[in-house]
């Protein structure tokens, strides 16, 4: 027969109450606990490092077993993709340089204006309910809570805990993650062509002298021909940029992050699948503007006044992070 004594009940109740008390004190921001936690981190670091070194062969063996076929297939696909994107990359680099020149000319800040710290991942979340990673750079490298972490592809997450020599990053898929974003869509203007206009020939000339200028969605092309001057103004399908702002929130490891719109957005219907999502920045956002976040892959229509939500596929592959860059940016309201 099971035995159950009042003493046992008291012990269990004491442990439960102690746990709840600790949680309450910790969540209310207790400096003593922060100190204890930092001390514990320093004490356990050698054990964790030793465990990391000792278990590396097992981990590598497991990764080889688990990932070999997928990596082989992915490698083939990536080679094909790299070939296809080489020319696009050159054009994109040129555009980036021009963009930075223009921003510098106008005195506007860009992502390249901020200092950053590159860090290596040293641990993943050991919990099934958090999406976090640990990096090997901390407070002594200038990292502060709230700073954004990204990799070459885009936004990864934000710093949620900083120790002297390491930090914890909450990934963008974590249900607690939220960041203001803007969705940049494009609306192609319907092509309209004016009839060619003829004028007096004027002085004859030889050859052609085409000039081309581009002004927000329209291209004006002037062609001078030997006998007549023909001007054709054509509105091509160059895009008009549509911008909507909202908040991106993580939805857990199995679901894509979603963007919900703060303003309800009258122009919201213009957002389409494939539109790009960037951080919005702003005086209160902890993330600087224009960090690539991802692409819209689904638009969810909700009933009533709830409006619509966008499912966003992140450009950064959070499952295979090795290095991240922490942008040492603090919004004006935080930096003081």
């Amino acid at each position: 027969m099971p035995t159950y004594s009042p003493g046992r009940r008291r012990v269990i109740a004491a442990l439960a109450l102690t746990s709840l008390l600790l949680v309450t004190l910790d969540l209310s921001g207790n400096r003593v606990f922060d100190g204890i936690r930092s001390g514990a981190s320093v004490i356990t670091r050698p054990v964790r490092t030793a465990a990391d070194v000792a278990t590396q062969p097992v981990v590598r063996l497991w990764r080889s077993f688990r990932d070999y076929d997928r990596i082989l297939e992915e490698n083939r696909a990536l080679r094909a993709q790299v070939d296809a994107q080489r020319s696009a990359e050159i054009a994109a680099q040129n555009a980036i340089i021009e963009n930075q020149d223009l921003l510098a000319l106008e005195g506007l800040e860009s992502l390249a204006s901020y200092d950053s710290v590159t860090a290596r991942l040293i641990g993943q979340s050991p919990s099934n309910f958090d999406q976090q990673v640990e990096i090997d750079r901390g407070a002594i490298h200038g990292i502060r809570v709230g700073m954004s972490a990204l990799n070459e592809a885009g936004l990864v997450g934000k710093v949620t805990r900083v120790l002297p020599q390491s930090s914890v990053i909450m990934l963008a898929t974590d249900p607690s993650f939220a960041v203001p974003v803007k969705v940049l869509g494009t609306v192609a203007t319907a092509p309209t062509a004016t009839a060619p206009t003829s004028s007096d020939p004027g002085p004859p000339s030889t050859g052609t002298d085409p000039t081309s200028t581009s002004v927000e969605g329209t291209t004006t092309e002037t062609t001078t021909v030997t006998t007549t001057v023909t001007t054709t103004v054509t509105a091509t399908s160059l895009p008009t940029i549509v911008r909507e702002t909202g908040v991106l929130r993580g939805q857990g490891i199995d679901d894509l992050p979603r963007v919900s719109f703060v303003s309800g957005g009258t122009g919201f219907g213009r957002i389409e699948v494939g539109d790009t999502v960037f951080t919005a920045g702003g005086s209160t956002s902890l993330a600087p503007p224009n960090i690539p976040v991802g692409r819209v892959i689904n638009i969810i229509t909700r009933t009533g006044t709830a409006g619509q939500e966008l499912e966003v596929e992140l450009t950064a592959d959070l499952a295979r992070l090795q290095f991240v860059r922490v942008v040492l940016y603090q919004p004006p309201t935080e930096a003081g």
Binding site: L15, S19, V47, R48, W62, G123, P126, S127, V168
Partner: protein, 178 residues
């Protein structure tokens, strides 16, 4: 009382917990069957209950949970609470006069781990985290439980050593270990 604890099982359990924390944050975080992180420390908390009984299991689970909270950065006390549940639940079965064979103890560990892991989203929700309680738990809890059953035979001797439980004591269910 504190002196008795320090001369008793607390240092050993803490030592084992710190070592397991190293494994938990490295190899266990990497090996993800079905995308689920194997919970070595939770299994150890349940093992402590299975070899010693509900009260000491709960206390050992609390200690292991505190080490986890300090090492991982989860709100201090949250994992301690869930591991207290695991240790108590695993030890609860030891009150019955059953032959404590290794597979029965593994079953008790499974019970403790299932309740302990199942309690995690409840505690997280209780402390204000949103969207933690999802259908994913239907995959997480069985997987964590199954992997705990697999590693329980390895952890049982470790748990006995940490709690200073002799095999002869293990064979006398209902007795509290000092």
């Amino acid at each position: 009382m504190i002196g008795a604890l320090l001369n008793g099982w607390v240092p050993r359990v803490t030592l084992v917990a710190v070592v397991l924390l190293g494994l938990q944050t490295t190899v266990a975080a990497e090996l993800r069957p079905l995308g689920v992180v194997v919970q070595v420390m939770l299994a150890f908390a349940a093992v402590c209950g299975a070899v010693s009984g509900p009260v000491q299991g709960a206390m050992a689970g609390f200690a292991v949970g505190l080490v986890y909270d300090l090492g991982v950065g989860t709100p201090l006390g949250s994992t301690a609470l869930t591991m207290t549940v695991a240790g108590y639940a695993a030890g609860w079965g030891r009150q019955f006069r059953i032959e404590p064979r290794w597979w029965i103890l593994s079953g008790l560990v499974a019970l403790g781990v299932a309740l302990g892991e199942g309690a995690v989203p409840l505690v997280r929700t209780l402390i204000g985290e949103s969207d933690v309680l999802t259908t994913r738990i239907l995959v997480v809890v069985p997987t964590v439980t199954l992997t705990a059953v697999v590693i329980a035979p390895i952890l049982l001797p470790v748990g006995r050593w940490a709690l200073r439980v002799r095999v002869s004591e293990l064979r006398l269910p209902g007795e509290e270990v000092r």
